[in-house]
């Protein structure tokens, strides 16, 4: 067990090349004990390769993987106190649920009575009571997922890896399983690393997210930070929806920057912590931070100059139940998306197509991104 403060897992400059393709390109990352960490990225970004290196199915070409201070980069899968839940579950079709769960325990040389106890405990944990004698092909997708989870947890690994664990489940089941996984992780106090391409899934479950792009970690942050303060234009676009305006000029005004954009005119933004350097930059604003009104912002919002007001007409309406997304065609040429909560059942607040509106947002809601 690592000493207090020391990370459970330390990945140091790990790289893996297949032929000429650099799948993982110098990734360094610390993961603390008890974390629920998500590796998020589009397909082909190297997240699965990284996970497979942690499990031991691939050996890194460069770098070290330290688990509790010990380098395991070249250790074989069965020599690591790490277990993995496979994307397609990889349940042994010739073994019953019970034998699938007991498989790793038998290999560990556990006594029969202890195995029986641990299996019963695992079956109860994932709520599979009564199905112990079934074969995997007699189970539903959700049940298979639970068996795979129980099998991976049975050996009480120091680290559990989950490769797209919910990808094969339908939406409703996925949501309830997400909650169950989180609850389980908290209760067991175990360290989970999950790989997913679904940003909502990562945001919901993980306490920290590492976004990967072309084999590199683009940003490691909490879900909130990732969403509200993305480090690059690519991340802002990958995680959630966003309005982007390319900046053309900038002017300092106290703690604010006045930025000239082609599509939306001059925008006032809060000065970012890191100074904006030369080169391309853009203003990003999340659709739900954009408010709409018929006349423009009312006085309660504050000084007139502190607010960005964009005039335009409603060009597209997308009703999503909880929210409605309006696409506003701006008089200055660009478009801006506004996501409005449908807080009343009757459409008192709704806007109609081609209606003139004012889209407005505060300087603090904007993020300056350098690309």
């Amino acid at each position: 067990m690592p000493a207090a403060g020391q990370p459970l897992l330390r990945i140091e400059g790990v790289a893996k090349t297949f032929g000429t393709f650099r799948a993982v390109d110098g990734v360094s990352l610390d993961i603390k004990a008890g974390e629920f960490f998500a590796l998020l990225g589009p397909s082909g970004c190297g997240k699965t390769t990284l996970l497979r290196m942690l499990a031991g199915f691939e050996a890194p070409d460069e770098g070290r993987i330290l688990l509790g201070g010990k380098d395991i980069a070249q250790a074989l899968p069965h020599e690591r106190p790490i277990n993995m839940m496979f994307q397609n579950y990889a349940l042994f079709p010739h073994l019953s649920v019970r034998d699938n769960i007991a498989f790793g325990l038998k290999r560990a040389g556990m006594a029969r009575a202890d195995i029986a106890m641990r299996v019963a405990e695992m079956v109860a944990l994932v709520k599979l009571e009564g199905l112990e004698k079934r074969k995997p092909d007699q189970l539903s997708g959700g049940q298979c997922q639970r068996v795979a989870l129980a099998r991976a947890l049975a050996r009480r690994p120091q680290l559990l890896l989950l490769d797209e664990p919910l990808a094969a489940l339908d939406k409703k089941l996925r949501e309830s399983t997400q909650a169950e996984l989180m609850e389980l992780q908290r209760r067991l106090g175990m360290t989970f690393i999950i790989v997913t391409h679904d940003q909502e899934e990562a945001m919901t479950m993980a306490s920290r997210i590492g976004v990967m792009k072309s084999g590199k970690l683009a940003q490691v942050a909490s879900p909130r930070e990732l969403y509200e303060a993305p480090r690059s234009r690519w991340i802002a676009e990958f995680v959630g929806d966003i309005n982007l305006f390319d900046g053309e000029s900038k002017l300092r005004d106290g703690h604010r920057l006045i930025i000239g954009t082609r599509d939306a005119g001059a925008l006032v933004v809060a000065e970012p912590r890191e100074p904006v350097g030369a080169g391309r930059f853009s203003i990003a604003i999340r659709p739900e931070k954009v408010k709409l009104s018929r006349r423009g912002p009312v006085s309660e919002v504050g000084r007139e100059t502190a607010i960005n007001r964009l005039d335009g007409v409603i060009a597209d309406i997308c009703y999503l139940g909880g929210t409605t997304t309006y696409k506003v065609k701006l008089d200055t040429g660009g478009t801006v998306q506004a996501s409005v909560a449908n807080s009343a059942r009757l459409d008192v607040d709704a806007y109609s197509l081609n209606q003139h509106v004012v889209a407005w947002f505060t300087p603090d809601d904007c993020v300056v991104l350098q690309s």
Binding site: G56, L76, H78, F86, L91, P93, H94, F103, G104, R107
Partner: protein
């Protein structure tokens, strides 16, 4: 639900024609094996006389025993080698010349038996090997190994690689993972491959006659040489027994391969 449509008259006729084309000769052979008459083509009433005759025919029994021994040992060796080849081809790293190797492995499938037999004969002569049980066994192994490899490889190809990875993840070294997960899953295919090799060896005449030596004739060779002197009803009895044996083996083999292909996909209530 509508009833499943019945076979049309044309279908029935063509089915009957096709089946009788395949099975009428065999049926007649089986029928005449119970013939009491000495003349093969004249029906003289029911009798088990020729079966009795066969079991007292020492040379014939010896040939049958030889055939069985050759079939069992060549099938066993072929299954071992064929399975190893299939595993190497589908599980091993991509080595140089892999495609060539797999192509060469399957060549005996399409090679005329005369050529296989002749080349093996030349080899044994060159090696100055005494021809008999072992040369026939080796020859049959060469012939049947590729059939085993085909059957086992197709099963391996349909297996999910992550099953072995899961086993390794749960504490198995690679060998252990193969034995405890992959082997049970391909076992039906291995069994089917053995049965196939067994029947192929049992009814092979061409390769056996090239590679066997004096005093160690297999059953097909013995039958063939008897028939050249005129068909005795006893031959019918022997053939009937061989047909029965092969039928049993083939039924078991196809059941095994059916079980093998249905496993993992749908519930196999067996």
């Amino acid at each position: 639900m509508r009833k499943v449509s019945r076979l049309s008259r044309f279908n029935i006729a063509s089915l009957a024609l096709g089946l009788s084309f395949l099975y009428l000769p065999i049926l007649i052979l089986v029928l005449y094996s119970f013939n009491a008459s000495r003349l093969v083509t004249v029906w003289g009433g029911w009798s088990l006389r020729w079966y009795h005759e066969f079991f007292n025919d020492r040379a014939m029994i010896e040939a049958a025993w030889m055939s069985l021994r050759v079939a069992v040992s060549s099938a066993t060796i072929a299954t071992l080698l064929g399975t190893l080849a299939a595993v190497a081809l589908s599980r091993g790293e991509r080595f140089r010349g892999r495609t060539l190797f797999s192509g060469m492995l399957y060549a005996p499938l399409v090679m005329p038996e005369v050529i296989t037999g002749l080349s093996l004969l030349l080899l044994f002569v060159a090696l100055n090997a005494e021809r008999g049980f072992w040369t026939v066994t080796i020859a049959h192994t060469t012939l049947t190994m590729c059939f085993v490899a085909v059957v086992v490889q197709s099963r391996l190809g349909s297996l999910d690689r992550s099953l072995e990875e899961a086993a390794m993840d749960l504490g198995c070294d690679p060998v252990r993972a193969f034995v405890s997960v992959t082997l049970p899953l391909i076992a039906p295919a291995i069994v089917a491959g053995w049965m196939l090799a067994f029947t192929l060896s049992l009814d092979d005449l061409v390769i056996a006659s090239f590679t066997t030596g004096p005093g160690s004739a297999t059953l097909p060779i013995r039958i063939y040489s008897e028939v050249r002197l005129g068909v005795k009803p006893e031959i019918n009895a022997i053939c009937t027994l061989v047909i029965a044996l092969i039928a049993v083996v083939i039924v078991i083999a196809s059941l095994a391969s059916k079980l093998s292909s249905s496993q993992g996909e749908s519930a196999a209530p067996l």
